[in-house]
């Protein structure tokens, strides 16, 4: 059977190649999506496991090791523990590179919490060596054996390069981390404890006990593994989950296209099927034959496509992973890729075999008869052709057409009169353009051709619509990246300007063109009443704070009144807060204020020790507090212009929050990945269009041949094909945009909702771009197919009966 299949494929070389290209294009998309998606989705888990990331990291004021260990070892659910001393803002330099924000970590015996990816770990008890974080090594081009100057320790030799996923990599994070042994740094007491739990799901139980034994420790701060995961994702600007979601959507597009193309292929081959059936092959064998043929095409194409797709995006994906201090999937990627290839092949084979099976089950005569031009009245034998008339046509002379003899210049008499007839018309007949079956233009004819086969038209529209939706999504993502680039590390912040402005000018500010909203923002650093740790930041807006700051909700709900508070995750962990519990804060130069916790939010600022309230209680105890005025701009407004206006009102500009990370380089990498995937999807679009046109042209081969026989030249045929293309492209474009606005955008936003609230609707410009782009692709496809059509001898099409 394989030999037969190979022969059959060889016979249709051109079409086989085209089909293979289609599978390749779709597999390309699948390959890129799977690579990016899998790497990112599993990146944190993988690196956390390999680096043995602790389940809880506790930071505190330096404590003698024995004392802190006595407390830590009493905690329940503890599998292992180790300690570190972290020294921040140390000078590091190597060659021409240097930084004043080095974090020199002295590691005590026990688990390290990082993975050495090159070289070897520093040995307890030895001196003169240092392990460097991979981000620093990449940025400064350091290798094992190089020298690194570390403040207070002099020049140390790099023994190894390590990855620890408890923060993003330098320079995305501003601190550069290096590790030294205790022998290197004597007389140092730990200020960090790393805890590994027997059951990580019960981390909150351990934390509850940890809180109760930490009285007097000072500057206490807990980060759980979940907290780290959030930190990483947020530092990366939430685009990680967006990319994963985007990959899923692209996969969907590819799958749809594959199914449609395989289905179309069968339609083409209907005659061959009929002949086979006439020769006595059973439907089962035919279907099996079809399956083998399509498998022979799909397998190499899928493997090649997926491999190319994976390679295409390998570099950007690896850089992404490196920036997140995560480990790439390495060889484990082969598993999902192979699975994806198998899925593609299975999909193609199934999509090709099923219609073949269905078609083959019809009687052979029916199959063979499947031409497209009218030969004789349907469902009537030749003999009764003139005998039966549909009643709707009204009375008519019995079957006899008026004799030609009465023709000449005279026009028909009343014998042929009927409801459609014009009676005994003389003079010019009216143009029948407006009739339901009237002429219309050639372009319209093309449209009719396209929509004649409903199912096939629908499949083509669906495929291209999904692709168009994906492209629209990509455009929306791109502009999102732009916004993030200008506004780094401010996930959840919805305002762009912050000024000092007299309250009397607020209305005037609100009225400025380009200003969407203006609000007052109070901010004060308070201590928790039980001095458990570092200061907490209270941020207060009158009314609804989500207009300006919108950190994603992790638990509970938003505040509803002046007695409630939304606390950041970091604070919730440190103080053991849950929705319903109480927060007590000491206001500097004020008294104690208490709030009921309404919800817990994921917020990065101040390491998550931040909370949102309404200002009433704050102002009761500190009526002297003055707010900042924050301004949210309309989309596509130039901040400089608005700033000028505000200054005219008497405002003085203030910086909008410190950037947590330097996103520019990272975003560039992300853009590269998006472009890679987007290009593949664009190719898929083009292919689908060509596919639709080719199939239509093939099905209406007779009609096209007739048109050419009637004297239609290449341009005319092109016009008809353009009609076909537009009939597919325009509804697809509209459907695609609608898909993006109603399904893809919200879906992806929801997937990213655990990190940020960002609407992903496309703007008018982006929509116009997509529709325009599709139309342009239509022109391309039309030209391509028209040329192929015209090169065929006309008689071949006419002979297709």
């Amino acid at each position: 059977m394989i030999r037969d299949a190979l022969a059959a494929l060889r016979a249709r070389r051109g079409r086989t190649l085209l089909a293979a290209l289609g599978v390749l294009a779709a597999s390309l998309v699948v390959g890129t999506s799977v690579t990016v998606g899998y790497s990112l989705a599993t990146g944190f888990q993988r690196s956390a496991e390999q680096a043995q990331l602790p389940d809880v990291i506790a930071r505190f004021d330096e404590q003698p090791r024995r004392r802190i260990d006595a407390r830590v070892s009493a905690l329940p659910n503890l599998e292992a523990r180790s300690y570190r001393f972290e020294d921040l803002n140390e000078d590091l330099s190597a060659g021409l590179n240097s930084t004043g924000k080095g974090a020199v970590t002295t590691v005590f015996n026990g688990r390290r919490g990082y993975k050495v990816v090159e070289g070897r770990d520093i040995r307890d008890g030895s001196t003169g060596e240092v392990v460097v974080e991979r981000g620093v090594a990449r940025e400064w081009d350091l290798r094992v054996g190089d020298d690194l100057f570390v403040e207070e320790h002099g020049t140390l030799r790099i023994s190894g390069i390590a990855v620890s996923p408890d923060n993003v990599a330098f320079p995305l994070a501003s601190t550069a981390r290096v590790y030294v042994t205790r022998a290197q740094h004597r007389r140092v007491a730990p200020n960090v404890a790393l805890l590994w739990l027997s059951d990580p799901d019960k981390a909150d139980v351990t934390l509850a006990q940890a809180r109760s034994v930490t009285f007097g420790l000072g500057k206490l701060q807990f980060i759980t593994r979940t907290g780290v995961e959030i930190l990483l994702s947020q530092a990366a600007g939430i685009v990680i989950s967006l990319l994963i979601a985007f990959s899923l959507v692209a996969l969907l597009a590819a799958g749809t296209m594959l199914a449609a193309s395989a289905h179309a292929d069968v339609q083409r081959r209907l005659t061959g099927l009929g002949v086979q059936r006439a020769l006595g092959f059973g439907p089962g064998r035919i279907a099996a034959q079809q399956a083998v043929e399509s498998a022979l095409v799909a397998l190499p194409a899928a493997l090649a496509g997926i491999a190319i797709g994976a390679l295409l995006v390998a570099r950007p994906a690896a850089e992404l992973i490196a920036a997140l201090n995560e480990l790439g999937p390495g060889a484990t990627l082969l598993g999902p890729l192979t699975l994806a290839a198998a899925a593609v092949v299975a999909l193609v084979v199934a999509a090709a075999t099923w219609p073949a099976w269905r078609a083959a089950r019809r009687p052979p005569v029916e199959i063979l008869r499947g031409g497209d031009l009218a030969k004789r009245p349907r469902r009537r034998t030749r003999a009764s052709a003139t005998a039966l008339q549909p009643a709707a046509r009204g009375p008519r002379t019995r079957g006899t057409s008026p004799s030609f003899g009465e023709a000449g210049s005279a026009l028909r008499g009343s014998r042929a009169a009927g409801p459609h007839g014009v009676g005994a018309p003389t003079g010019r007949p009216t143009s029948s353009d407006s009739g339901p079956h009237g002429g219309g233009s050639l372009f319209g004819l093309g449209v009719r051709f396209a929509t004649a086969a409903r199912a096939r038209w629908f499949a083509a529209v669906a495929t291209i619509a999904v692709c168009a939706g994906v492209v629209t999504l990509m455009l929306a993502l791109a502009s999102l990246l732009e916004r993030l680039r200008e506004d780094p590390g401010t996930v959840g912040k919805r305002y762009q300007l912050a000024v000092q402005l007299d309250s009397s000018q607020l209305d005037a500010a609100r009225a400025l063109p380009g200003v969407a909203d203006v609000g007052e923002r109070y901010s004060i650093d308070a201590a928790d009443s039980f001095r458990l740790g570092e200061p907490i930041r209270l941020v207060a807006y009158p009314g609804d704070h989500t207009r300006f700051e919108n950190p994603p909700l992790a638990e509970g709900r938003r505040i509803a009144n002046a007695n409630e508070v939304e606390v950041g995750l970091g604070m919730a962990d440190a103080l053991g807060l849950r929705p319903g519990s109480t927060l007590a804060a000491q206001i500097p130069d004020g008294g104690e204020v208490r709030f009921k916790v309404a919800g817990i939010v994921r917020a990065l600022e101040n390491d998550g020790r931040i909370a949102w309230i309404q200002p009433d209680k704050l102002l009761e105890t500190r009526p002297d507090l003055t707010p900042q005025v924050v301004v949210r701009l309309e989309p596509n407004t130039d901040p400089a212009t608005v700033t000028r206006e505000l200054v005219n009102l008497g405002a003085s500009l203030q910086p909008v929050g410190a950037a947590q990370t330097d996103n520019a380089a990272f975003l560039a990498v992300l853009a590269a990945v998006l472009r890679g995937v987007g290009l593949a999807v664009g190719l898929v679009c083009l292919y689908a269009l060509i596919q639709a046109l080719t199939v239509t042209a093939r099905e209406r081969r007779g009609a096209v041949a007739l048109l050419r026989a009637t004297g239609a030249d290449a341009t005319t045929i092109g016009l008809v094909l353009a009609g076909v293309a537009v009939a597919v492209a325009v509804p697809a474009a509209i459907a695609g945009v609608v898909l993006e606005l109603t399904v893809f955008g919200p879906l992806v936003s929801r997937l990213a909702a655990s990190f940020a609230s960002l609407p992903l609707g496309a703007s008018a410009g982006e929509i116009a771009l997509v529709i325009g782009g599709l139309l342009a692709l239509s022109v391309l496809a039309t030209a391509f197919v028209a040329r192929r059509v015209m090169s065929e001898p006309i008689i071949a099409g006419l002979r297709e009966e």
Binding site: L75, P76, D199, S212, G576
Partner: protein, 466 residues
């Protein structure tokens, strides 16, 4: 023919009973946990901080083994039950966060003391001892209502653990912002509604066997350390509950020299201004006066003797220092009485709250009929040999492992053997929550290893006279 069948049934039953009896000291398939640890234990094999049912723990022989004979007597020991009025203002839970030596001033499970006692009583009842000794620290803060609550639980019937106003008012309230207290509504593992449940009346089973009690320091001294004063009583029956400790205060107290008694006394005398909340006052929180415990148990004193059988004598020694502190005090006349009571040919077992002082032990050394000196106070399971006889210490219901002891004294060829094994309570309802929290407590019995080692728990202690 029914007679032969009945006979066969009776024979089978006897054989089974005999097997069961013989198997009492051996391994048997584990039950669900919360039972005699000869049948199953509670362990945490995956070290996640939560107890699961574990395998039975058979008796380990200690001393020089000898051929075992008949059982002379069985008895149980309950100790340090610390029945508590957790809402009382006369407490200092805010000291707990300082660490040692104040770690017993607050426990996450402190609201469930009566229910835990009831569960322990049920477990002991199931063991059917001939007698039960309650070796002191029956209550936690020497309060009258605690005394009554403990008695009611021991006797059985309807028990009302609430005090002050209806419901719970205390440091574990849901609206407490203090992260150093376990607040069951929010802190993991959360048990919303448990506090309210703990205030509701319940029906106690009551101890079935005859009860022989002792008092401990916590029964007559405030927080087990300080003699009751009018000022303390004023606080106890007052309406102000101190909830927190100003962190700056800590800086004023040099840690190394904290004397529990002095600090407690100072705080209860409120020499500092500390944050507090208003609570409903309750007169029954008055601290007990002298002799009140004796009257409650209808005894003249807590030094007494019980001849459990004609072969076994139990002698109790009151070690509480009523002037204050938790350290043992035994007067010379008590020692003399002890010496006299030990002068018998019965096997002698001595009970006390604190472990006996060296002087008392020297007296015991002189009497070859002494089998064991059994005590509590340390909240720790411990069995140490002393010459011919044994010193047995038992864990409390206040801290993990929340176990009581069963004993069986048997004749041997060379003297006697005292079998003892731990009994877990069944952990139903609030008692289960209590044990779960007790196990998690980072200041409690788990890190302090109160459960002891195998040889401190289920052992067969041989006492050889010859």
């Amino acid at each position: 023919m029914t007679a032969p069948r009945a006979a066969r049934r009776a024979f089978a039953a006897t054989v089974l009973a005999a097997l069961a009896f013989a198997a009492c000291g051996d391994d048997s398939p584990p039950a669900a946990g919360g039972d005699s640890t000869l049948r199953s234990t509670l362990v945490d094999p995956d070290r996640d901080g939560f107890l699961d049912a574990g395998p039975a723990e058979p008796l380990t022989d200690r001393g020089t083994p000898s051929r075992l004979g008949e059982t002379l007597v069985t008895f149980g020991q309950l100790t340090d039950t610390h029945v508590r009025d957790e809402e009382s203002p006369a407490r200092v839970p805010f000291l707990d966060r300082i660490g040692t030596p104040f770690t017993s001033t607050f426990r996450p499970q402190e609201a469930f003391s009566a229910q835990t006692l009831d569960a322990a009583i049920r477990a002991l009842n199931a063991q059917r001892p001939d007698a039960v000794f309650l070796t002191g620290d029956i209550t936690d803060n020497a309060q009258r209502n605690e005394l009554e609550l403990a008695l009611a639980t021991l006797e059985g019937g309807r028990v009302n653990p609430d005090s002050g106003g209806p419901g719970y008012r205390g440091v574990q309230q849901p609206d407490s912002a203090d992260p150093f207290y376990y607040r069951p509504d929010f802190d993991a593992p959360a048990h919303p509604g448990a506090l309210a449940q703990a205030q509701r009346a319940f029906t106690a089973e009551g101890l079935k066997a005859p009860l022989y009690p002792l008092v401990g320091n916590h029964d007559v001294l405030a927080q087990g350390e300080v003699q009751p004063t009018e000022q303390i009583n004023a606080y106890a029956t007052g309406d102000e509950l101190i909830t927190a400790l100003d962190p700056e205060l800590l800086d004023q107290l040099p840690r190394a020299e904290i004397d529990a008694q002095r600090a407690t006394a100072a705080l209860l005398g409120n020499q500092f201004f500390l944050p507090s909340v208003d609570v409903p006052a309750d007169d029954t929180r008055r601290l007990v006066g002298s002799g009140e415990w004796e009257r409650a148990f209808r005894r003249e004193r807590f030094d007494y003797t019980v001849d459990l059988t004609d072969r076994v004598r139990a002698i109790t020694v009151d070690t509480v220092n009523r002037d204050g502190t938790s350290r043992a005090r035994i007067n010379p006349d008590q020692l003399q009485r002890l010496d006299e009571q030990l002068d018998t040919d019965r096997h002698a077992i001595v009970f006390s709250h604190n472990p006996l002082t060296p002087e008392a032990l020297q007296i015991l050394d002189r009497h070859p009929n002494v089998v064991a000196a059994i005590s509590g106070n340390s909240h720790r399971n411990r069995v140490t040999p002393r010459g011919r006889y044994w010193l047995v210490s038992t864990s409390s219901l206040a801290d993990f492992p929340q176990q009581s002891r069963m004993f069986r004294l048997r004749e041997t060829a060379d003297g006697a053997a005292l079998e003892t094994w731990m009994v877990d309570h069944d952990g139903r309802g609030l008692a289960g929550i209590s044990r779960e929290l007790a196990f998690l407590d980072a200041q409690g019995g788990r890190p302090q290893r109160f459960a002891g080692e195998r040889q401190d728990r289920n052992v067969r202690l041989f006492v050889n006279v010859s």
